[in-house]
Symmetry: C2
Subunit: 433 residues, 2 copies
């Protein structure tokens, strides 16, 4: 194999054969191809794209690079993957709801970096909670409770880990074929027999428009098919942060309140839509209406909350958090966010809010940064909401008042207020299965 010739082929928009793709990636993983050749190859893929079967081959190479987890076929497991957003705590409500409806959910989740938070970080704000379980323990909890959420071990899809780290520093993250292989390899290797994808679209997401989102969805579905995994895609609006809280402990509190029956419109719509598809894919319900009814029932009856309690207990967390969220870490200071103008909210720079919260350690600057689980913000206004001058539109929770004031200013500047009335936005843009 001649590495330069293969880079050249991709550079000129030609298709690589299955063998060529394997040779290139394997040689890289065996350190026979240096980082700079892989970097040029990734940028060529970014610019020229890949055919569906090239993406399938890349996904296969990723999967085969490490260990695979599998579950009994009869479990008909379903996982959910989100392409990432600010305030995205949906998994933490979705998993217990789906489990209460009889679905088996093996979730391997990630940590937050930059402007987006991570499900693991949020869960770890619960005193004692552990995410580093063995595969055996993971399976036991799923069998008992119906779901478990753990961290990815080093030996699942190591190829993606290594290539992702290189993509991150070579501006090749936002490539649809590379995103597809990265998502799908992990979700297939972790043993999800079905998958619901929450594909975020909008200014706050890395997919800015529906056209690109549809291309990505098609690649995801076709790649799943190749590995006998059924995939549903929900296209959701990512122009406002999700829910009313951003920050680790604050979001756990919000999740528990939701499971206890509190109405939070955007969370409600997204969680129920995703849960519906999980139920349909795992064949625990036959129609959308039936699934919707099941979901309402398990929330109303407290069965979903009970699943949450059991899950926390088995992962060594303090289950009393389900009755008294105030045992979660609390910040010393609460700074009110006061509107400076009247009008309607036209846009929210969610990414900027995410980065602003990194300053009070609610998120991570680098992989090694220490989180302050209690820090975060309450943000009660969405696009289209009316705001009055001097109205309190939210709160910053922090332990460092000076950093908190700075975060507050950046959050305020993230709202674009219009004098004209602005229409509220739809949460769900489209769904396909």
């Amino acid at each position: 194999m001649n590495a330069v010739e293969l880079i050249m082929k991709k550079r000129d928009g030609k298709k690589l054969s299955k063998q060529e793709m394997k040779d290139f990636i394997h040689s890289y993983l065996e350190n026979k191809i240096p980082e700079y050749q892989m970097a040029a190859f990734l940028m060529a893929i970014f610019q020229r794209g890949m055919e569906t079967d090239e993406v399938q081959t890349l996904t296969e190479i990723y999967i085969e690079s490490g260990r695979k987890i599998s579950f009994p076929k009869s479990w008909n497991t379903v996982d959910k993957h989100s392409t990432g957003g600010v305030g995205d705590k949906i998994s933490i409500m979705l998993a217990p709801i789906a489990a209460a409806c009889g679905v088996k959910v093996p979730m391997i989740s990630g940590r937050g970096l930059g402007h987006t938070g991570g499900t693991l970080d949020k869960l770890e704000s619960i005193p004692g909670f552990r995410t580093d379980l063995t595969e055996k323990k993971f399976k036991e909890i799923i069998e008992k409770v119906g779901f478990s959420i753990i961290s990815q071990s080093q030996d699942i899809v190591p190829a993606d880990k290594r290539i992702y780290a290189l993509r991150d520093v070579t501006a090749t993250v936002e490539s649809l074929p590379l995103i597809t292989a990265s998502i799908m390899s992990k979700k297939i290797a972790e043993g999800a027999q079905n998958l619901v994808i929450d594909l975020k679209v909008g200014s706050g997401a890395f997919i800015k428009n529906l056209e690109n989102a549809e291309k990505l969805a098609e690649l995801l579905i076709q790649t799943g098919k190749k590995f006998d995994q059924q995939v549903a895609v929900v296209f959701s609006n990512m122009n406002s942060p999700l829910g009313n809280y951003v920050g680790n402990a604050l979001e756990i509190k919000e999740c528990i309140e939701y499971l206890r029956g509190k109405k939070i419109p955007d969370i409600d719509e997204l969680t129920q839509t995703l849960a519906k598809y999980m139920i349909l894919l795992s064949q625990k319900g036959k129609t959308k209406n039936e699934a919707a009814e099941m979901i309402r029932k398990v929330i109303r009856s407290g069965e979903a909350l009970e699943k949450m309690r059991e899950f926390i207990r088995l992962q060594k967390g303090d289950p009393r958090v389900c009755d008294d969220p105030d045992i979660l870490p609390q910040a010393k200071f609460e700074l009110p966010i006061i509107a400076e103008n009247s009008g309607w909210i036209e846009s929210i720079d969610a990414q900027n809010i995410g980065y602003a919260l990194v300053e009070i350690n609610a998120g991570r600057k680098t992989i090694k940064s220490r989180l302050d689980h209690s820090a975060g913000a309450y943000l009660r206004k969405k696009i289209g909401d009316k705001v009055e001058k001097s109205e309190e539109i939210g709160t910053v929770f922090c332990n460092d008042k000076i950093a908190g004031e700075h975060t507050l200013k950046r959050i305020l500047a993230s709202y674009n207020i219009s004098e004209k009335k602005i229409k509220k936005e739809k949460m769900i843009l489209k769904s396909i299965m």
Copy 2:
């Protein structure tokens, strides 16, 4: 400066400011940006191109990275650059002809790699010949003879040396902006006040069509202008190897025969066209007709050959080679190349011929390969020439008979013979100044 943000900008086809371009390249040269980020950046440039002023800035950074040679303004120096071809020995005839017409020619030349030969390698087949002269000696010889041809010292344009090595292994060589900065920085730093470019176009060149050639010419001319260097571009056909010989000593012999008055049609047309522009740019002649007459005169009178003799003597070579080319190294074996079919030559894969000759060490596989100066081939047929079955169409000269037989087969396979009559091709496609 954030390296990823700058790669991203170029990746998305945006223009980098002068400061951004400088920051990126300087950080790389200071080892603050790793090779893989430069590799991704180069591939982004390959795919998205660069605006003219970005190319000018890159050229400036290249030039400023090392030492510059300069000549008295009154010398009005001219150099020639060829974008590379098989059998391209033109410099070796062109420089003494131009010098005999009064032109001052400071040539800093390269070595061959892969399928193309290098002027320095050819000259070094002359017993005793030296190309590693000091700047002082270089200037002295130009003052005395009118021209000198030496190797590039390490301290001229080191930035291009380093980036070129990376381009070579990341499939980013054939990028018009990168080619422009690479050529122009060297030709400006070596002190050429004017420049004639022999831009090869065709299947055997890396520029395959006239449209791309015109884009490159425009970039070259505009970049020259920025640094007060006047540039003329001659677009020449690179579908057949140049002249009748390929191989180091064989080509020196052919050059001397040409300077002694032998007619070799393609060499004659290209050399005279390039020489004409050198004379016009340096203002030693006023019109094309006047320049053409000057050239014919210095060949006929033996003045050009005399310049050659003087040049060889001053660079420590054996000047008797000008009277008796047989003192050049001779190969042990001469294998006749016999045509297997009758017809007209439709195409010649010059690149394949170049690689075939690497097998008998007439060219280099890697930078470190040792050359056999005596090895090479005599190839007397051009596109459009008639060939009879069993006719001897050339000769392979080699010291290793087995490798030679293999080279011979590859050369034969490089000719595509048609049963229908094929038109001869033009040597010069176009010229601009």
